[in-house]
């Protein structure tokens, strides 16, 4: 069977699922899973050997013939879409059921199928017009998914912000595709565009448009609130796949278009800044899902560092290190999709069980939710980029790219050196962030009643998390097996980087990771059995002899991040409210610390206010009094006459 037939099957089952979803949830579940499986097969076939698949329709749609193409790069992202989409579908079935949400659940299923379908459409369409149509449909269906629970004010605000920001990005893309079509005379997209050197400046439009969707640092304003307020399976697909579509666009068009000379430098710089500042913001958050959302900004940064290094590598004579960096970036697309979706689904289970995302109201959940706690811990290790899991493999490849630029003493080293140092600092901060998130939520004593009486999530929510955790482990322990797929994608991006076996160290690294995992498990079992043999006594936590430790005395999320939040205070701009205890018998005292959405609240909103004030001022000219309008016309005519008479216009 060719990939095309599988894609047809996937599309058909998703369309039927879309139609039947609102009515029959079980049928929807089965059909969506079949669709995801078929898409996975199609993409897998292309990645592991089958030739690229291309198809033109004989009939025009919207004035243009359909042109579908599944090459290595689209297939790589399609695998991600199918995996996270499938896991999210199973999760949603239990997490957002008709029983609890009679109103929004049927609607949610419809938009979920639409989202999957339009994402797939964007990935395979090879015509600018159809690409834009799919892009818009995907944006809108994601909006409806974010605002499923629209009775809440902050959900509506988050959805609105998402819609506005997305359309600002889409406007850039409209301009991009329209200019592209105007210059080439056709909406057709493909590698042939690379020959037309005049197209290079268009990349900046693409960078802005796709950058908004990807959440690159100053353009990330929509991302935290949308991810935090959406239902958790939607957060998972937003962070795991939808944000990656921005990356897909950047990778796709940086491969198909001729590149301006500065592109690599700018992308690499943006990536390094996003990585460091994204994780600094994540560390300062007290809302579990907002923390995960900011961490997405960091990971997008890592991917962009890889892409930027690859662009520099191409510009400097197809250096081999560029290929490693690109392979790292593309593998990180998969890795981040797997572990971040796992973490968002874990956060969803916590939210489901306790009703809060506020970490200071949680704690001690491992006792009631051992599965979720264990899987979240695994995701935390992976997202911190630690061996032996998958996050390390892709970060390692990106580092190899950067180090290659340095040891090769190419000009790119001037950017690679600071980027490597910033990545290292970001990695250490990611570790700090996820020790904090995992520990404050799952360890210690429950801080509230809600956390104490939580319950483990059901099988329907556990299975998708287990699947994603399995992906994290497989990609970590056997990275060599997936090299062929990654290599196919790098070849689609730059033909000179196709084929060739995996770099030898990748297999060595895989072997080391397996040994490491094995010994870690053995050592833990050995230590545990030794402790049991010597006798284990359970007693109160030793708080330096204090006999009545209470849950509220524990270190909180805010106190844990205090040191680093201080270092990044110049950009975090935390708002503090302090009322000290006064007098011999103080009635009360408060201390509130909040990290605002700095870029949004301190930059975008003030600018928006100025624009609004200016518009209000200008609006005074429009008041409905006819005599003044006549005056405007006369004044206008007089001005034109003056211009003509003085010879200003010829």
């Amino acid at each position: 069977m060719t990939p095309g037939l599988f894609l047809l099957l996937a599309a058909a089952s998703l369309v039927v699922g879309m139609a039947s979803g609102p009515r029959w949830p079980r049928l929807w579940l089965a059909l969506t899973l079949i669709g995801a499986g078929a898409a996975l097969l199609a993409a897998g076939l292309v990645l592991f050997g089958a030739p690229d698949w291309e198809w033109w329709s004989g009939f025009p749609v919207g004035g243009e013939k359909l042109h579908l193409r599944l090459d290595g790069l689209s297939a790589l992202f399609l695998v991600l879409l199918a995996t996270v989409g499938g896991a999210g579908t199973v999760y949603a079935h239990e997490y957002w059921p008709d029983r609890l949400y009679p109103d929004s659940a049927p609607r949610g299923r419809f938009w979920w199928s639409t989202l999957l379908l339009s994402l797939g459409w964007v990935l395979v369409s090879s015509n600018g017009l159809h690409f834009l149509l799919g892009w818009e449909l995907f944006t809108v269906s994601a909006y409806f998914l974010v605002t499923l629970d629209r009775t809440r004010r902050d959900v509506r605000a988050a959805g609105w912000l998402y819609l506005v920001a997305s359309h600002a990005g889409t406007a850039c893309l409209f301009a991009f595709f329209a200019l592209l079509a105007a210059r080439t005379g056709s909406w057709e997209l493909g590698p042939m565009l690379r020959e037309q050197t005049g197209l290079a400046p268009l990349f900046w439009l693409a960078l802005a448009g796709f950058g908004v969707k990807a959440g690159v640092f100053p353009l990330h304003i929509w991302l935290p609130s949308a991810h935090a307020n959406a239902p958790s399976h939607v957060s998972a697909i937003l962070s795991g796949v939808a944000v990656k579509m921005g990356i897909y666009g950047l990778v796709r068009f940086s491969g198909w278009l001729p590149m301006p000379a500065a592109a690599g430098w700018v992308v690499l710089g943006l990536g390094a800044v996003s990585a460091l500042l994204g994780i600094a913001f994540a560390m300062a958050q007290n809302d579990l899902k907002r923390l995960l959302a900011y961490c997405t900004v960091e990971n997008i940064g890592i991917i962009l560092v890889g892409l930027g290094a690859a662009l520099l590598g191409v510009a400097q004579g197809d250096a081999a290190w560029g290929r490693l960096a690109l392979a790292g970036a593309l593998l990180h697309v998969w890795n981040h999709g797997a572990f971040k979706s796992l973490l968002f689904l874990g956060a969803g289970s916590v939210l489901h069980a306790t009703g809060t995302r506020e970490m200071s109201r949680l704690g001690g959940l491992w006792r009631v939710m051992p599965w979720t706690a264990g899987l979240f811990a695994l995701g935390a290790v992976a997202v911190s980029g630690l061996p032996p899991l998958n996050g390390f493999v892709s970060e390692w490849l990106v580092y190899l790219g950067l180090f290659g630029a340095v040891t090769g003493r190419s000009a790119a080293a001037w950017m690679a050196l600071p980027a490597a140092i910033m990545l290292a600092a970001a990695g250490a901060l990611a570790l700090a962030t996820f020790v904090k998130a995992g520990a404050v939520v799952f360890l210690g004593a429950p801080r509230t009643q809600a956390a104490e009486h939580a319950h483990e999530c059901g099988l329907g929510m556990r299975v998708p998390m287990l699947t994603l955790a399995g992906v994290c482990v497989a990609l970590g322990l056997a990275p060599g097996l997936f090299w062929q797929a990654i290599s196919r994608a790098t070849g689609a991006w730059h033909p000179a980087w196709a084929g060739a076996g995996a770099p030898a160290p990748l297999f060595t690294l895989g072997a080391v990771q397996i040994i490491l995992a094995l010994f870690a498990v053995l050592a833990a079992a050995w230590l545990w059995s030794r402790a049991l043999a010597n006798g284990v006594r359970r007693d109160l936590t030793w708080d330096c002899g204090y006999a009545a430790p209470a849950a509220r005395m524990q270190y909180t999320s805010g106190s844990f991040s205090g040191i680093t939040a201080g270092w990044f205070g110049w950009i975090l701009r935390p708002e503090r409210l302090l009322r000290r205890p006064r007098g011999p018998l103080p009635a009360g005292a408060t201390r509130v610390e909040r990290v605002p959405e700095t870029v949004l609240e301190k930059v975008i909103l003030p600018v928006g206010d100025v624009v609004l004030q200016a518009s209000t001022a200008v609006r005074r000219l429009q008041h409905g009094r006819l005599q003044f309008y006549v005056l405007y016309v006369v004044a206008g005519l007089a001005a034109i006459a003056a211009l003509v008479l003085t010879g200003g216009v010829r």
Binding site: G364, L386, F403, A425, L443, V512, Q554, I563
Partner: protein
Amino acid sequence: MITVLDIVARLALWLVLAPLLPGLINKVKAWVAGRRGPPVLQLYYDLARLWQKGVVMSTLASPGFVAGPAVAWVALLGAAMLLPLGPAGAVFSFHGDVLLLIYLLALARFGTTWAAMETGSAFEGMGAAREVSYAVLAEAAMIAAVLTLSVQTGSISLATMLEPTAGAGAALLAGGLFTVLLAENCRVPFDDPNTHLELTMIHEAMVLDHSGPPLAVILHGAAVKLLLFSVLLTQAVLPMGDLSPLAAAGALAGGVLAVTVGVGAVESLLARFAFRRVPLLLTTAFLLCLFALLVAWRGGAP
């Protein structure tokens, strides 16, 4: 077969020699202060005693309380095995193994801080928060040092990076790496391993609740980490590639000893810094490594 023997021998070397260093440091400190001090082998006795003891665990702790130290210990030993040992070279090395070493150290940090957070004690939270925060600066300095070495040698593999003669910025690198060593191993002036005031500690505050075999594993792991940093520092700075194997082995042992005595001397002569000055000192270490990097870059192609 020979490789297996080699691995076993190295592992044994690391396992057996590591606890010697804290004993030596304590001897140096006692000597400077005019005391007799504890025996050099004190840590060995402590470890043996702890291994026999029962465990008291907080009622709040999950299995991660024991798994964390075990994972950290494996990660530290793994990192140690990656390190070449002077003339004996590395057991195995590959392109980019130095990054694995840095991230294994990070994995160890994850294990110990996670275990510290298990108990819900504010003191341990404090220790863990400090550990992970200061590590941000220490890791930046580490990667700058590693970049220096790879610029000097044109390689990303520990075996070749550490082998040849030290570059022009060796003194800068030594200063930077020594400061990182002090910070990562929680020595004065960053932390005081002897104090009993929990509010002012990092490492000791994290292990307040540990006892018995898990504590033994943590203490042994800390000793391995100290030895690892001393070996790394010595090989990064001393030009050992030019010496005969015997002389190189002697230089390595002498270098490690010198570092150990240096740590003891710093501990005897300095007091612990106030916490707000710690980032300043770490930034200085980072800048030292950065200047070493610039010097190496100016030094021309290898």
